[in-house]
């Protein structure tokens, strides 16, 4: 009978694989060390009005999304309609970070695909990459009224995680003082 330990052990292992697979846990949501920390400060030129600067401090008192994108990024094109729909509902302001991109390309891209952003910060050299622990484009941060990062989505925002995670969190943060 001892031999049956092997297949039984394998089935237990398969059970683990099943849980990991179906729990809906996305391996890409690696806990970011930035969650719960104040969003790193910066002051950078806006995309459409380079003379004007933007700083996260400008958003104090509001819950907002900080969405990292670029005109060369394929997944950004996929998530774009969702962001447009979100912006039309006026639930939460979205600030864009145009990452490692040429301003002209980015403006053309927004003019063609529609602009869901309250405003855009231009970061052609990717200077914020390290401060914000960016692993790829797109990424989206949820930042609360005190300027603290509360959530980070690595990769595309999908309708599911928008509905199940981001919007409930935004609603909850709106209630917080």
């Amino acid at each position: 009978m001892k031999r049956f330990i092997i297949p039984v052990a394998f089935l237990v292992f398969a059970g683990f694989l099943y849980v990991a697979l179906t729990s809906g846990l996305d391996p890409h949501t690696v806990p970011s060390p930035f969650i719960g920390k104040p969003a790193p400060m910066f002051s950078m030129s806006q995309l459409h009005e380079p003379a004007k600067k933007f700083s996260p401090a400008d958003m104090k008192g509001r819950v907002w999304l900080f969405n990292l994108w670029a005109s060369w990024c394929e997944s950004c094109r996929d998530e774009h309609p969702l962001l447009l729909a979100l912006s039309q509902q006026s639930v939460v302001p979205i600030v864009g970070l145009d990452y490692k991109d040429k301003a002209a390309d980015a403006e053309a891209w927004l003019a063609k695909g529609g602009n869901p952003y309250l405003l855009n910060v231009s970061d052609p050299e990717g200077r914020l990459g390290i401060d914000y622990g960016i692993t790829g484009v797109p990424e989206t941060f949820v930042i609360d009224k005190h300027g603290v990062i509360r959530y980070k989505e690595v990769g595309m925002v999908t309708p599911e995680n928008l509905k199940e995670k981001i919007l409930p969190l935004v609603a909850q943060l709106e209630q917080e003082p």
Binding site: R3, F4, L17, Y18, V19, S23, L25, P27, E125
Partner: protein, 673 residues
Amino acid sequence: MIPELGHFSLIVALMLALLQGVLPIWGAARGNAVLMGLARPVAAGQFVFVAIAFCALAYAFLTSDFSVLYVAQNSNSHLPAHYRFAALWGGHEGSILLWTFLLTIWTIAVGQFSKHLPQEMVARVIGVMGLISVGFLLFMLFASNPFERLLPAPGDGRDLNPLLQDPGMVIHPPMLYMGYVGFSVAFAFAVSALLGGHLDATWARWSRPWTTVAWVFLTLGIALGSGWAYYEMGWGGWWFWDPVENASFMPWLAGTALIHSLAVTEKRAAFKSWTVLLAIGAFSLSLLGTFLVRSGVLTSVHAFTTDPRRGLFILVFLVVVIGASLFLYAWRAPRIGLGGKFEVVSRESFLLANNVLLSAAAATVFLGTLYPLFVQALTGGQSKLSVGEPYFEAVFLPLMVPMVVLMGLGPIARWKQVSLLDLLKRVRWAAVVSFVLAAVLPFLLGKWTPLIALGLFLAFWTMSTVLVDLRKRMLRDGGVKGQSPSYYGMQLAHFGIAVFIIGVTLVKGYETERDVRMAPGETTVAGGYTFRFDGVRDIEGPNYRGVQGRVIASKDDKTVAQLYPEKRVYNASGMPMTEASIDTGLFRDLYVSLGEPIPDSNGAWAVRVYHKPFVDWIWAGCVLMALGGILALSDRRYRIHAKRKLAGGPASDDVVRKKQPARAVADRRSKTA
């Protein structure tokens, strides 16, 4: 039309695979020769239809038919033709088709080269392979159809992942898959033996060449993947303990153990039940690797599209195939028996130690790769962690050190029993010479650390014990001809391990890395070479734009190499890529890659410069291992057996004997090998 033809062919292939999986096995159980005889023709039919599907997809790629979703996702009209073809296995659906295609090729080969085997055995083996094929065809047809249409068709495709647009990547996946799929033959033999209840030395002899071929492919496939990572990633590393790499390494470790335990089973009829378990294990780990890579349960640097539904399908498939074979094993293995006895100090015990250590190594890689997943499942996703290089290096080294030491002794030891004193006496010079060389050489190379000395000792020990054994056998049996090719193959593969260890030790111990900001005309020094940066110029490729830098490497004021590292941006995906430039030499590589341009400067760039001594020995070692495998395969032992059975009549038997005194050779071999 052509894509629909491909889709239809897959459906027909599925029907044939079902027949192939059911009828011959049933026939073998009932002793029905007609049903058993169906195995080969049905398998051939399945191969033809899968081949049609494969060609249909290749055609869609070569003609840039973007109305096929998979083509639109993985190709582009500006992609050069050879990459358009290789793009076939650049994504998930095509990889699975390639898997299945290779499986049918292996099945045909088994049918072809097993004419001398008993009919029940062949019927069962081909039947089991048919069942595996059923799983893959079902998967393709229901969860990942490569022929799915995308209507209206887009104007152009999204392009093949730029990381994969590289000659190494064109052959790496087919090689790797040949290895993975090849283990299905050993698996099918093991399951057939369990079904039939006959498990003896002949079973091991039949499985051995197949296992070796699969192992050779897997070895080359892993080496190619590692080489590709080295020059394509631009970090100068050659192994990252990434889950996808580990997924290919686990079957390799199990397969290596299997090759050795098959040897014992063939020669001494020992380890029988363990060998069967290893054969099941090696293929199970290949399937598990596919699951891990394709289901997305683990994160990896390899950017694969992942889909939980597919993961679930593969998981069910895994449970059916591995679960069923393990239950079969548990049920039938007690009949197999343990086989021949041996003493504590004997070649068997050395091979047993080899098996224990290799299996333990596979288990540690398994644990390290899947630990994040276990933790996640147990905590409901509350805690996430990843296991990295420090773990693997800390657990892997202690297992490999005794393994390599014993590897030197194993071939010298006799079967059954050997006197320990005698054995030690025979290797005393090898031990002393290796020890002294390993202790002194690092001083001459400029830096002494215990790890460098240990690595060098293991390499010299392996080389010298190979030479000691070769010399002894040559003196005893008179020249080179006295030994079988399989003996030389083994020693060549062991020698390859030594070459590999030298590469790893020296590159880890003595490499120099410079990550510097360089303006045109500036220089930096690494490993005794001076590197001068001459700035960059714009370049344009067929489907990318970019810049190319020029770096002149010189030593003692003499120019040694001109290096042209590139930074590309691919048009369709917009993905930036770093193309390192490498000057390869027998004793060192000079490796330069471009980082980012420095803003507001005079054309300055962040440049990474590496001096990597002996790095190519890592892959040279792998190639030697693979060559050793090929040499072992050329052993006449496997073929003579085939000819004698095939010839049947006494007349032709005589002819065979006249050409080659088969029995005499076989006798001598059992004495020496």
